[in-house]
């Protein structure tokens, strides 16, 4: 089932209804077409609106604006149970008092009218699904008697048993340990391939998303940053955020500039970038984009070498690097070339991404543009639309400012009394300092100085929290 999201927007009103500025726009004008039968990863840091998007698709949250289509049906106004979706919750939400079998049967038993199956049919269906997720041996157990991975599979079985048109998974692997995560990830992939159900899953783990998705949607602050096949997004990030978010170890970012068709990091010319106008840029270099070369343009001071078997990771520092260290991965055979305390690199052009310093948008150079266009063309051929964020990127700073405003400073009754009794004691030093401060900034909220004094006085602050 093809899923189309049009101008999907979710705004959470502020607690204080009059204060419009404290509204949170969780998802902002989200446009996406998800092809039938694919496994899609919604990927982004926490708070980027990916779960909200998922819940809007499920129907548990109503969008503030925009439309959702399953195939040609507009399901925006439909209740969750009428959408034909299966939803797997982050902590599975298996009913603890029911056995595995009862849990899986539950959605079937809710069917009414002509859709209602006979008891035998229900059981057959439940066993079929249980077999699919390989949980059929444990049908009589309670969820608490199963491991995390098994619970996860029961949750998937429960979502699949009513044959949903769309399967939604909310952080399906975050509650599992590393080994199980790897295993379950493959399992989800296999189940999705077997059933061919359009599946959307949410994760903050880029590795997870990259490894199993047919294509990924990278989000930031409610806005799509880029869509595409994982490898494409990795190889051709549209902006600095996407470049930084994908890849382990993370991409190395330097400040640099383009002058006369050459790229400079600091005063060192590191790469020729034909066809790029002079401008200040961020230079992203994937760890595997470095080549050891005595005559290389980029010189770094070595601070350590991690040997990881096949590869060697050279940890070094550079004054123009935005990351604390520059991490480069080279073949173990080349280790012999490293000597002394500094190292020189040449850069592989297709592993270097330039971003305009103002907009943080990608600046293509050399053959990169052609490769990018080829990729977009191929996406179009496969029926996917290439979506990136145009214009300036949403800034974290906006959010930080919002948070500062919305932090409620409530004063407990006890703390107030304590303060009253305390004041005479340390009146002279404290008030002397505080008064001029609050006089200087009259625009700040009146509660501000109270918050400060609460912070200064740790035990008082704790009590305040408890009472609130």
């Amino acid at each position: 089932m093809k899923v189309v999201l049009q101008h999907l927007t979710k705004i959470f009103p502020s607690r204080n209804k009059k204060d419009k500025s404290a509204e949170v726009v969780a998802v902002n004008d989200f446009n996406l077409e998800i092809p039938d039968g694919k496994l899609i990863g919604l990927l982004g840091p926490s708070g980027c609106g990916k779960s909200t998007t998922l819940y809007m698709i499920s129907g548990l949250q109503a969008p503030s604006n925009g439309k959702i289509f399953f195939g040609d049906d507009d399901v925006t106004a439909l209740a969750p149970e009428n959408r034909g979706i299966g939803l797997v919750f982050q902590n599975y939400a298996l009913y603890p008092h029911m056995t595995v079998q009862q849990n899986i049967l539950f959605p079937l038993q809710n069917l009414k009218g002509e859709n209602r199956l006979s008891k035998e049919e229900m059981l057959t269906r439940a066993y079929e699904v249980a077999k699919l997720v390989q949980i059929d041996e444990y049908m009589d157990r309670k969820p608490s008697e199963l491991s995390g991975g098994q619970q996860q599979r029961v949750a998937i079985a429960r979502a699949l048993v009513k044959m949903p048109r769309v399967l939604l998974l909310d952080e399906p692997l975050s509650n599992l340990d590393a080994r199980l995560r790897l295993q379950t990830r493959e399992e989800i992939r296999r189940i999705q391939r077997d059933t061919q159900i359009t599946t959307i899953f949410v994760t903050h783990d880029q590795e997870e998303a990259m490894s199993i998705s047919d294509f990924i949607v990278v989000m930031k602050l409610g806005v799509i940053m880029q869509t595409g096949k994982p490898q494409w997004v990795y190889d051709d990030p549209a902006n600095l955020f996407v470049a930084k978010f994908l890849g382990t170890p993370p991409i190395n970012v330097f400040t640099g500039s383009v002058r006369g068709g050459a790229l400079y990091i600091g005063e060192e010319e590191v790469l020729s970038v034909p066809g790029v106008e002079d401008q200040d840029v961020y230079v992203g270099v994937r760890p595997e984009g470095f080549l050891l070369d005595e005559n290389g343009g980029l010189s770094c001071a070595i601070s350590g070498i991690d040997v990881m078997g096949r590869d060697v990771s050279v940890v070094s520092t550079n004054a123009n690097s935005l990351n604390p260290v520059v991490r480069s991965i080279i073949s173990a055979d080349e280790m012999g070339k490293i000597s002394g305390e500094s190292v020189k690199f040449n850069l592989k052009p297709h592993k270097v991404f330039l971003f305009n310093k103002e907009t943080e948008q990608r600046v293509y150079f050399g053959e990169q543009m052609a490769a990018h266009e080829a990729m977009v063309a191929q996406m179009a051929e496969e029926g996917q639309n290439y979506v990136t964020h145009e214009g300036p990127l949403p800034r974290e700073a906006d959010d930080a400012a919002k948070e500062e405003v919305s932090v409620p400073v409530k004063k407990g009754f006890l703390a107030k009394i304590k303060e009253k009794f305390k004041k005479p004691k340390d009146e002279q030093p404290e008030t002397a300092e505080e008064t001029p401060e609050s006089a200087e900034e009259p625009s700040e909220s009146v509660e501000e100085p109270q918050a400060e004094s609460a912070k200064e006085n740790a035990p008082e602050g704790e009590q305040t929290d408890k009472e609130g």
Binding site: L60, P80, L87, Y95, M98
Partner: protein, 310 residues
């Protein structure tokens, strides 16, 4: 050494509580057992040096009294009827309270009022609402109570709820209403607390799975709340067997309509009436009451072990 010192300190801190418990709880229990098993025991006799032999005479005589069997019957009946009703009502009200947002605090306060009000005072208010004042043959009573006023306003005929001519059914109805209403707040509080602890995701999951509200209530809410329900039922039974305040509140110390004294007396009422002259009998009744509560609680625990999902 340090540990020993601390232990000594711990006992010292516990001492006040231990003394109070010992004097007002442990010793009375022991004394009750002693008095219950001394045949024909009374404190006046003991002071005069009258000897009492050990035996079961108190129990056999108590069980033989029709007064006592009435009390036992009343207690059992009121408990068995009111506990299920109040539990069901409390569950429904708690679920309703949990699902509304506006006025939630307001309704919570209203439902919680009986808990902070003296139950005898409430009983007297109930009496005022139900009873008729100044009933004389051939004359209109001075007041027929607000309930009867309402009944007549809707065209019904007045009922003698709690006065001289009142019947068993009318009395029983008033008592059940009063006891249930009085028992609600605590139960609502406990169940509401339990409901607020239930993970919201279960409801989201049930919604996605297309469960109707009724099914969500029975298949999700009730099982997840079952520990709380068990607690409320067990304490409800214990409280029910100790019913006394409601009767005295509504009927006064006649424990029944004026002309039918002791008609609604309960176990605790019987014990209190006997405690001043016939301590042996009172103790025997108290021990029987304890045995009943103990047995019922055991049954409750047994059943809940099978039905409750912790």
């Amino acid at each position: 050494m340090n540990k020993k010192k601390n232990q000594w300190k711990a006992w010292l801190y516990l001492l006040p509580a231990l003394v109070v418990l010992g004097v007002f709880t442990v010793w009375p229990i022991i004394n009750t057992l002693r008095m219950g098993f001394l045949e024909g025991y009374n404190s006046a006799g003991e002071r005069l040096g009258q000897p009492f032999s050990f035996g079961f005479a108190n129990f056999t005589s108590v069980i033989g009294y029709s007064e006592f069997t009435t009390c036992l019957g009343n207690t059992l009946l009121l408990t068995v009827v009111t506990v299920p009703i109040s539990t069901m009502l409390a569950l429904l009200i708690a679920v309703a309270l949990n699902s509304i947002k506006p006025l939630k605090k307001f309704f919570q306060t209203i439902f919680f009022l009986p808990y902070v009000t003296n139950s005898i005072a409430i009983g007297m208010v109930f009496m005022a609402m139900f009873s008729m004042i100044g009933v004389m043959p051939g004359r209109e009573p001075m007041s027929i109570g607000i309930i009867n006023t309402i009944i007549e306003a809707f065209g019904g005929t007045r009922i003698d709820w709690v006065n001289q001519t009142s019947g068993w059914g009318a009395n029983f109805f008033v008592l059940v209403v009063f006891i249930v209403w009085n028992a609600l707040p605590f139960k609502i509080l406990v169940l509401l607390g339990g409901l607020q602890n239930v993970d919201k995701q279960y409801y989201d999951a049930a919604k996605v799975d297309g469960a109707s509200r009724w099914r969500i209530f029975w298949r999700v809410t009730v099982p997840l709340l079952s520990p709380m329900i068990a607690y409320v039922v067990i304490t409800g039974f214990i409280g029910g067997f100790k019913e006394y305040n409601s009767i005295i509140g509504i009927f006064g110390d006649t424990m029944g309509p004026n002309t039918q004294q002791g008609k609604w007396n309960t176990m605790v009422g019987y014990i209190i009436q006997n405690v001043s002259g016939f301590q042996g009998r009172a103790s025997a009744a108290a021990i029987i009451l304890f045995a009943i509560i103990f047995a019922v609680t055991l049954i409750n625990l047994y059943v809940s072990k099978k039905k409750v999902h912790y």
